[in-house]
Symmetry: D2
Subunit: 424 residues, 4 copies
């Protein structure tokens, strides 16, 4: 009995991806997996992958399962078999590729941070708004919103389980720059990366804080530091997180660490720390949120767990409970394994793909939108401005229209991503 | 530039899978992913999936990406495009399918437990030994050996970091039977499941204990219990872990929980507990091993972590260290994500597939072998015998030839699975 | 303004303590502190301390604040200024001292285990029953019942928060015998210690299991082992936990580790492990209890915390909550510090003293009674019998009259110790 | 044999304590216990306790074991039988009492914060310097330096185990003000408390950060907030942490929370958070310090544990180890219980008393000195100044002479407190 693909009936969605390093591999796994796990209204097809180095992009296509390869992204974004362009390149090329793709009539998924500057991000938002009129959608890849524990945390907060928020504290600690011999890769150069730990890690935690709280940061005060100011030049081509260093040295032009405090629109206090110099912390995105009725805590190194304290319970029996976010009642989980059979980092990309595919099929705005990405960019710019001005409290200009979800997705299988519009 | 698959050069390995429930989904994800992440000497092709219900198996093929479907496993195991048969059915059909597949000249991967009885397991080992002469390999799917933390734990023990072992304690706690209204699915009937928590969970922890210790259990003393002796009959067809219960009730004919203690060949004491009645524990496979020089601890609910105490260190600064088993130096990890970007449950199936493909390509014996599966079966039989005889200490007969790996795999990318033969 | 002791109005309770090693120091701290923290109906006076070595006991009196010293315990138990005899000697002398003290008309607090044999324990219970007629009370020092988290756990179970119990698992892991050069102190000789890890650690966890469950063990199956069978003789006098070892060696005549499983009266399964060979575990008394409605978990190394899972909550938001047992609503805590300001090990002795003083003042039976201590002794004897008979399941004879508290103390300040009598 | 106190030979040290609320109780327990646990060169005598309310202070004397009571602290500080004055009153009276006591020729122990203003603290330092010439010593009661885990952490840092420091992050989270009905006690009024969470909790973490790092903060940027601006007036007399609130309300004149970042002298970045509005956190003083060679982490809610990551170890087997700081090799522990038998909050007061008694006996400068207290006060003032000036980075003036210990105490039994002088 030959199998006649019952999915044949579902229309396809051709995906073209630009970039094939760490993010490219992670997105590929997401695209390969999403249709095998979730029931989708559109069937994603891995149509084409793009990158400058012809041999490398061809090898990446073979390895990751893309049907074809392009060595010029301009050719990729105009292919007829591509309806969605997924941008996994460093931040300095996001604006150009995203705007071109949107103007070519494609939906766009763009890795975070949205851009390396507010001006670029504003141009991208403008392009996205024009494209929206034509029916194209744009989403920015803050994938940690799709950790089930984070989506569930958002649901608890949106339901009022924490009451009025008092404190949001988030840190993102890694340690791959502790060694002063780690080489000067593109992530350590301002012209490519925009900033250092701030844009790489800080962008994630700013988005997550605003997403979970359901409100924007309105001002920040910041310190930043580059502890190791010169590093060996990479011996060969720069290759992401690791590359052997040579004898010659060059200047590090981004921050190693950024610390900032701030206020949310509701008056809650917030604190942030992004660093790649925290020895022993590998991927410690930690957050705690305290409200008048309860608190939440999370650590990305234990991503299947969420701690929740319900302050309305009797004092004697209350405490932070460790919720294993692996029940079928939890966001995205109905599609996966039995309780306690945990997910990993890469699943966030399948969830992101799932939500975007549903948004495209239903014509609803995906979240986080480019406007959300711009809002994050404005926070990062305010952080850099404050750090340059003796940490003085610096307001964050708010866009006229940024989406902050008012309620979390309640069922991975049945609901469209909720993305209410809010004036912030 | 159309992509010409650079993998085309690698010979293919046609996989035929029987069964499409929980295990079928998990194995499918493993087979789809393994070649995209690891560099393999053979390229797995998802050739055919088999199952009795024609519509269901066809739907499963479409969903999970199998090229064709068979409604009679006998047809599947003789297909020319299948070189490897992967058995994901309940335990009562393992022996028949596995022996037929081996006799049809196929390699076989069989889910755990190897069989529902020692006699069946012995027949399977005999078939595997005959097949071995013809070049076919057989492996049993104790996938938890492929949790990187477990493979790394084995490496530490094999290197002598724990010294002479004193204690091995392992428990596997779940809670899906706490509710007395949970229905009487196949897993609660002796004729299909062989036993209850013992075969389902106990088989895993017996294998893991023997694998990690590098030596067999030589005797056991056991208690077991069925707390809820009648349950509602499933309203519809039995469907694995969950199904709504009806008004009619039937007898539970397997254990809800099994507790046993024992001795390893070296004299170390061991304790085991398998239960599906531990409220709040979802997938808590916990182990601790104490040796004269150090100790290890692990909890499957935090599968990216391993705790290690080095007792040779100065007392003031020693303690159990939490190793995030996500470094490129750890087993299987070089192929995955940066440090701290954790893996999930399903990755064990990709790792299992990777090791089996390498074994087939290199003609080396995979581990755990059918003989290892038989050894586990003998322990389970001794447990049931002891439980029936007032817990009296019951020796475990040892096979003439069972493989217990002497050293753990040291590099996911470069080494073949180590599987030294040992007289036990 | 000279202070006129307002406590002068409270009648005194003269305490005489026998023994001045580790337990003597801990009890002394309890007696010195109890009246300064709790409001007591009787004011304990540290009247006399007894021990064989005259210089040592005199030094101990000075150090620990006892008013006088006796080098013969027979003189101590008959002193007019002593109303309560607190026995902190090794187990082989408990029966003789306790019976003499009771016959001399004194109340008695006796360290655990009650005795080194069932016969001794039975004689002690008989003496206690005779003394009870004359108004003297007897208590055994299972101090871990007085860890606030344990008293609170008992309260939760007594209130039915766990429902029908299914599993009780307790282990007590230490590591001070891992080093084979640790000397042969009195705790390693059967004639003084009665047994090894079994009596030292196992007695604690058997009592705790029965106390928390509110029901006795009715049968056990056991394995035990002495891993290091010869050790250096102590260079000087044996001194408790540590002493330098000399060149000569002698046989260890007690167990290093004991593993046992069993059944509670209600049918719940129980497992126990006591060992002093678990490298890296210092004082890891760990327990978990699973019931149909919830579960509890505890680790003595984090004695201010109790984990509680309420299985009646919605699955999505349920999980083990970490209760900091430091609220004024918790047992004993009203007398201590603000929330989160944790207590230590020694506080159990102040709590024990407080409960005994209240019992004496009110003429109520203290718990654990000598009958409770006998019940533990019978379990230990059954464990040894089972271990000697190939682990065969061995019933535990139940005394005609043993107290197992039906409800936990609900307020350290206001309530008398609850100690309902139950036929077990 | 009547006991002749062998300690009689040791000269006495008469202690007079002012204040008898929470801190008074804690200090009393420290003074009662210290000589029973540690071998001391001077024998502390609880000579007199002072307080305004004659009946209350008399009751406190009886309860806590002080020989006499004074209703005017001026009488207490001039008593002949008092050589050491221990000040446990609210901060607004510290300066007056301390200066009077020093001028009366007494040694002084003053609770933290040293004072409510920099000016008061400076006057106290000047008085302490004058007294030093006469042989009197002064110490400020930052008792958390005496948590064994903290003293051990200091030792590890002083030994260079962390290398150059990069990050110090400390937060102190409590939740007793979450309830808006909590009454307006003295701690919520600026005139008595000086500041809110900042002085109460922030003072502790600033001192701890500087102590552990071995260097001062040189500048800060701060935000602070009072979330609940009016609270019910206490129905009766204000009584520390808890009092029932009445119907009338008054303004809260101190901060509920303070967030600040800063730089240490070496260039390390630091962050601080002090709040009494973190629902579910009872006494969560948490810190993490990252250096080029390693990291430390600690949580006061688990005060017997210290986490240490040694970054010089092989990546595969490294990780944060949980050190149970209960070994005899750890600071203060030789005097206490066997390994794993944890201490509690109050033990810090016994350790503080021990170190001060040894300093007095040996004529060495105790740490933290009043100059250390002044340095903390300057940080708090800079925090308030920055918070009032839009968070602008505000330098911390450094005193000409503040002691920051260069090395931690290495043995509780044998060494005097190390307190090297440093120009900061």
């Amino acid at each position: 009995m030959e199998q006649r693909d019952s999915e044949a009936a579902a229309p396809t969605l051709g995906v073209g991806m630009v970039g094939y390093a760490f993010m490219g591999a992670a997105h590929s796994q997401g695209w390969r997996t999403v249709g095998r796990v979730f029931d989708l209204p559109l069937r994603p097809v891995l149509a084409a992958i793009g990158g400058r180095d012809e041999a490398a992009v061809r090898a990446a296509a073979a390895k990751h399962g893309w049907a074809s390869a392009e060595s010029d992204w301009r050719d990729l974004v105009t292919r007829d078999d591509v309806q969605l362009v997924d941008i996994c390149t460093p931040g300095d090329s996001h604006a150009e590729i995203a705007i071109a793709a949107l103007e070519a009539g494609k939906h766009v998924l763009c890795e975070k941070p949205l851009a390396n500057s507010v001006a670029e991000a504003e141009a991208m938002v403008a392009a996205a708004e024009r494209a929206r009129q034509r029916g194209q959608l744009a989403m920015v890849g803050f994938n940690y919103r799709r950790v089930p524990a984070m989506a569930y945390a958002r649901r608890l907060i949106a339901e009022g389980r924490l009451g009025t928020l008092r404190h949001v504290r988030v840190s993102y600690l890694q340690d791959w720059l502790v060694d002063p011999q780690f080489p000067l890769t593109w992530r350590l150069k301002r012209e490519h990366a925009g900033s250092g730990a701030l844009g790489d890690l800080g962008a994630h935690i700013v988005d997550l804080a605003q997403y979970l709280a359901g409100e924007p940061l309105v001002g920040v005060s910041a310190l930043s530091e580059t502890f190791v100011r010169e590093r060996p030049l990479p011996a060969g081509a720069s290759a992401g997180l690791s590359a052997p260093g040579g004898a010659e040295r060059g200047p590090v032009t981004v921050d190693d660490a950024a610390l900032f405090t701030g206020r949310l629109a509701s008056g809650a206090l917030a604190s942030f720390e992004a660093t790649r110099m925290a020895a022993g912390r590998k991927n410690a995105l930690r957050l705690e949120i305290n409200g008048e009725l309860g608190s939440l805590a999370f650590d990305l190194e234990r991503l299947n767990e969420l701690s929740f304290h319900d302050h309305t319970e009797p004092a004697a029996s209350s405490g932070f409970r460790r919720i294993l976010v692996t029940e079928s009642e939890h966001p995205y989980l109905q599609a996966w394994w039995p309780p306690g059979h945990g997910l990993g980092y890469e699943h966030t990309f399948a969830h992101q793909a799932r939500d975007l595919v549903v948004a495209i099929a239903t014509g609803t705005e995906p979240a986080p939108s480019f406007a959300d990405g711009l809002q994050v960019q404005r926070v990062l710019a305010a952080v850099e401005e404050s750090a340059a001005k003796s940490a003085v409290y610096t307001p964050v200009p708010t866009s006229v229209r940024a989406s902050v979800p008012e309620s979390a997705q309640t069922s991975a299988q049945t609901s469209a991503p909720a993305s209410a519009q809010a004036q912030v």
